[in-house]
Amino acid sequence: MSDLELGPERRDTVSPEHHGMIVRYTAGDRTNHWIVAMAFVLAALSGLALFHPALFGLSGLFGGGPWTRILHPFIGLVMLLAFVLLALRVGSENRMQPRDWRWLRQYRDVVNNREERLPEVGRYNAGQKLVFYAVVLCLAGLLLSGLVIWRAYFSLYFPVAVVRLAAVVHAVSALVLICTIIVHIYAAIWVKGSIEAMTRGRVTPGWAWKHHRVWFREIMTRAASSRPRSD
């Protein structure tokens, strides 16, 4: 996708303007990610308002109960469509590989910051890949069940037993998705430099070397072979 981007910013390259920093996410990637993120926050807040009476007050953020009910499914669709575009950008980088399973088995080293003991990681580590698949599954569940319980347009086409089941599927999928995103957000806070990657698009070579060494080596190999030799 990087060849679709405008300007000098090309994904997975050394940025010429920024002291050898590496471009991890282009402006397009970042825009796409943050549209998904904003839609997620709004969908989660409006959904939680309808999930538990203690959180019904959140409906005030959306203009009251009826507006929450009206807006929630449309916000969900925006999240879904934006995520489909994001998945087209990053999906191919998220295939599980043998080194990922080893990485997962060493989860103790992962959570205790002992990265030097872990297998080398490509553009995404196994945790990030699992987040990706969890989001794919949850959004699929939310879409299918959400259409069934969308009373204004679709519920009347389904028998009541299906509507009841869909309500459960919707709640469970949303719970798993929210917990997954909590983990996703925490990982960004935990691994310093990640938030800059998604806000400014750039990471330092040291960050790439430490957390995604296979990816770093690929970029540097490409950079070395394309650069005219000085001697």
Partner: protein, 304 residues
């Protein structure tokens, strides 16, 4: 609703108790008794309901039977359902049932409703929708074991029989009761209605309806609308009146344990993250990582 709120015992999407210090003496629980064995299908009750509640349904089409309209709607809160059933003896029985909200003691609609105070249960047992609090999600439709609430296409609020809570509050009987010409509809305290039904059932049994009985299903804690049926052993003969209605296990799961459990899981996930940061700390990149990166990059340049 200042006065009325004192008589509310249950309120949708509300986890604390309703004001319930008042204890009305005797006979606080009301019930409507529908004696299907006396009903002649005249639909006076349907007309009275329309009239009292200012409801006008759209004119439908005749599909060759008496049932009209074909189904309950936001504008038709009660409906005579006509079933033609052949008995084992070969007789044709015309089983007519006045359908509408059963006013369950354990209302599935109220359990499913996410809007505080959109559905309430009064101390007298009536389950009422307060449409001004309704958000139009239709969860009550999924919660109801009797397929009663209907959402309006006009205002996206749900409607159903109120058991004329406005009339009952001032000591009147519901409009349908007032209109019934045969005495098939009776209204009073639930105890009185059970007693009245017992007399009717005894009479029916003496006349050969050995399975005559009262429909007051225990699965929903009993109802405040009860039927006398000639065939109480086969309620489904009466246009699919459910034999054992209860709140669906899916609705119980969704609106029961999943709510507190779901919030707890989300909260614990966030707490786990917080304490991981406090105990283990962030994963930072320092100068030695940058140096290692430079070294690797340099080695790659040397070995093309």
């Amino acid at each position: 609703m200042a006065l009325q709120s004192l008589d509310i015992v249950r309120r949708s999407a509300t986890t604390t108790r309703s004001p319930d210090i008042r204890e009305p003496s005797g006979g606080r629980q009301v019930a409507k008794l529908i004696d299907t064995t006396k009903c002649i299908g005249c639909k006076a009750c349907q007309v009275a309901c329309m009239e009292w509640n200012d409801l006008r349904d759209e004119i439908g089409t005749n599909i060759g039977q008496y049932q009209n309209p074909h189904d309950l709607s936001a504008n038709s809160w009660t409906l005579m359902r006509f079933a033609e059933v052949e008995s084992p003896k070969g007789d044709l029985e015309w089983l007519i049932r006045k359908d509408g909200c059963m006013h369950c003691e354990d209302p599935g609609c109220l359990k499913a409703c996410p809007a505080p105070g959109a559905i309430v249960q009064y101390a007298n047992g009536i389950v009422d929708f307060h449409e001004e609090n309704c958000i139009g999600c239709g969860y009550c439709i999924a919660g109801c074991p009797f397929d009663i609430p209907r959402i309006s296409k006009k205002d996206h609020k749900v409607y159903k029989c109120t058991l004329c809570s406005d009339r009952v509050a001032v000591g009147l009987e519901p409009a349908c009761i007032k209109a019934c010409p045969t005495g098939a509809l009776v209204f009073g305290t639930k105890d009185d209605m059970k007693q009245h039904a017992a007399g009717r059932i005894e009479d029916l049994k003496s006349r050969g309806f050995e399975h005559a009985g009262l429909y007051d299903p225990a699965g929903v804690g009993g109802t405040h609308v009860m039927y006398v049926l000639h065939h109480a052993d086969q309620p489904q003969l009466y246009s699919d009146l459910p034999a054992d209605p209860h709140i669906s296990p899916a609705v119980r799961l969704w609106k029961g344990v999943s709510k507190p459990l779901g919030l707890a899981i989300m909260g614990l996930t966030a707490l786990a993250g917080f304490f991981h940061y406090i105990r283990v700390g962030p994963d930072e990149t320092d100068a030695s990582d940058e140096a290692a990166a430079r070294e690797l990059a340099k080695s790659l340049e040397k070995t093309p």
